[in-house]
Amino acid sequence: MEIEVFFFGVLADVTGIRQKHYNDVGSFADLRHRIEDEFPEIVHYTFRIAVNNEIVNDEPLLSGGDEVALLPPFAGG
């Protein structure tokens, strides 16, 4: 399936991008491995996952066209 991934906060600096399209994603675990292979630095950072703008647990079930966002701890205000 096709998944759009968004990198926020410090993760946008770590990866050098804000957004990336992934093809042929088998599962969330698969997606995570591909992201970590491509951006190995990312494992040093804490972040939560949102799928389609809602925060989810660690291993969400993905559907084609889902938007996955990687969210470092919030720091608004």
Binding site: F8, G9, E54, F74, G76, G77
Partner: protein, 143 residues
């Protein structure tokens, strides 16, 4: 709309407009406002010149909606909740956050305003990078 995201600092005209609008709530007896301002903090001999905020806009709207739902359910005297957050670059001395609670009486206005600010800091998908006077930058977490 549950949150207004400004391009750059929250300007005085946005603030004035929301205060003026609150005058139409004839059963409101008090408004409690909080304005968050970028502070020229000094650390390691460097001074904060500005903060760059990035916002997950699609999620910010639903997060703000949930914050308002919590406030209205906990504070029955509250009549209106306004939340404005800056996106992008905000210089020291400029406003990054504006919260206004209108209520029948002052006690709940003040309590609800304090709680809204805490919820904004916990739940709003916003990140900030401090920009120092020597040109260096640092992602910052809320303490």
């Amino acid at each position: 709309m549950d949150i207004l995201l400004t391009d750059g600092p929250v300007g005085i005209s946005v603030i004035s407009g929301l205060i003026a609008k609150a005058g139409s709530l004839k059963d409101a007896g008090g408004h409690s406002l909080f304005l968050g301002q970028v502070r020229s903090d000094v650390s390691d001999n460097k001074t904060v010149k500005a903060i760059e905020y990035s916002v997950f806009e699609k999620m910010a709207e639903s997060a703000a909606g949930k914050i308002k739902a919590i406030i209205f359910s906990e504070f029955s005297d509250v009549r209106a909740v306004e939340i404005v957050h800056a996106a992008g670059l905000v210089q020291a001395g400029e406003i990054s956050l504006f919260v206004m609670i209108s209520a029948g009486h002052r006690q709940q206005a003040v309590d609800a305003c304090r709680k809204t600010v805490e919820l904004v800091k916990q739940r709003l998908p916003v990140w900030k990078k401090e920009i120092f006077d020597d040109g260096t930058q640092k992602w910052q977490q809320n303490i």
